[in-house]
Symmetry: C2
DNA sequence: GAAATTACAGACTTTATTTATCTATAATAG
DNA sequence: CTATTATAGATAAATAAAGTCTGTAATTTC
């Protein structure tokens, strides 16, 4: 079980956008160069963030991607859910007479992780990053 | 990102062993039937639990698998680590000047989940299960 | 309006991981 | 010795992740 690379790209892109809060949109070309990933692949990932309402896109010359919320309103969990989906990490496929107790505990455990990620905002990380430069 | 089915099989097998604490070893045949999984595949999984020191195996007639610790000394995390490994769920592969801040937060988040799983013992679940029968 | 620029969508390929299966070997009880 | 049971290794099949390619739509610039 691993977080996908796509989630890593998404988090880094969002952190960059929050840290630099550009007034005009950033093209996928530049965003991709910074991470050594192909523009077409990154654009797929960013489209998911658009659909999740975290960023907005503009076509045409001088187009690109721009934040749709402030950095203190974007959590790690928002981004992770946009990429990985919101389904539980654990699925008991066995047929039980009643609800699976193991499943219940796994969901609670996952909830602990999600609580942390829900309360960790991009702005906090951006400030920390900028302070260390 | 999903927990593997193997982890599910491992957790269910351990819960069964803890709940029934048989004096003589249980064969993989019977354990596999209960979960509708092939014995050869389950035996692969159980071998991992043996190597992790959670259960012990005996070859030959009347052989099988038996607990090596009490149920209150076996945590969810013990079992999950035995199957999934102990590596972090998140690997930042980008080359950073200094340590990746995103990685650091992800590790902390994961730690929250692990804390819960480390403190959740098989015995607790076994009791709950037996009470509901 | 034409040309350049940029995002979006879908099909496709490649690679990696998970889920198994098969077969042979080793250990043990009776 | 024979039946039973676990272990190891090779292999196959299925699924998921990572990435590419191509064409289309939207927008700006001229």
């Amino acid at each position: 079980m691993k977080y996908s690379k796509a989630t890593n790209y998404a988090l880094h892109t969002m952190l960059f956008l929050v840290a630099h809060t550009p007034d005009k949109p950033m093209g996928v070309q530049q965003l991709a160069e910074r991470q050594n990933v192909s523009p077409t692949y990154l654009s797929k990932i960013l489209t998911k963030l658009v659909k999740a309402g975290l960023i907005e896109s503009a076509s045409g010359a001088n187009g690109g991607y721009r934040l749709r919320r402030k950095g203190d309103e974007i959590s790690f969990l928002d981004i992770i859910h946009a990429i990985e989906g919101t389904a539980s990490l654990f699925d008991c496929t066995l047929d039980h007479p009643s609800e699976c107790l193991i499943q219940q505990e796994m969901v609670k455990a996952e909830g602990q992780m999600e609580d942390y990620l829900r309360n960790k905002m991009m702005s906090e990380l951006a400030e920390k990053m900028l302070a260390c430069q």
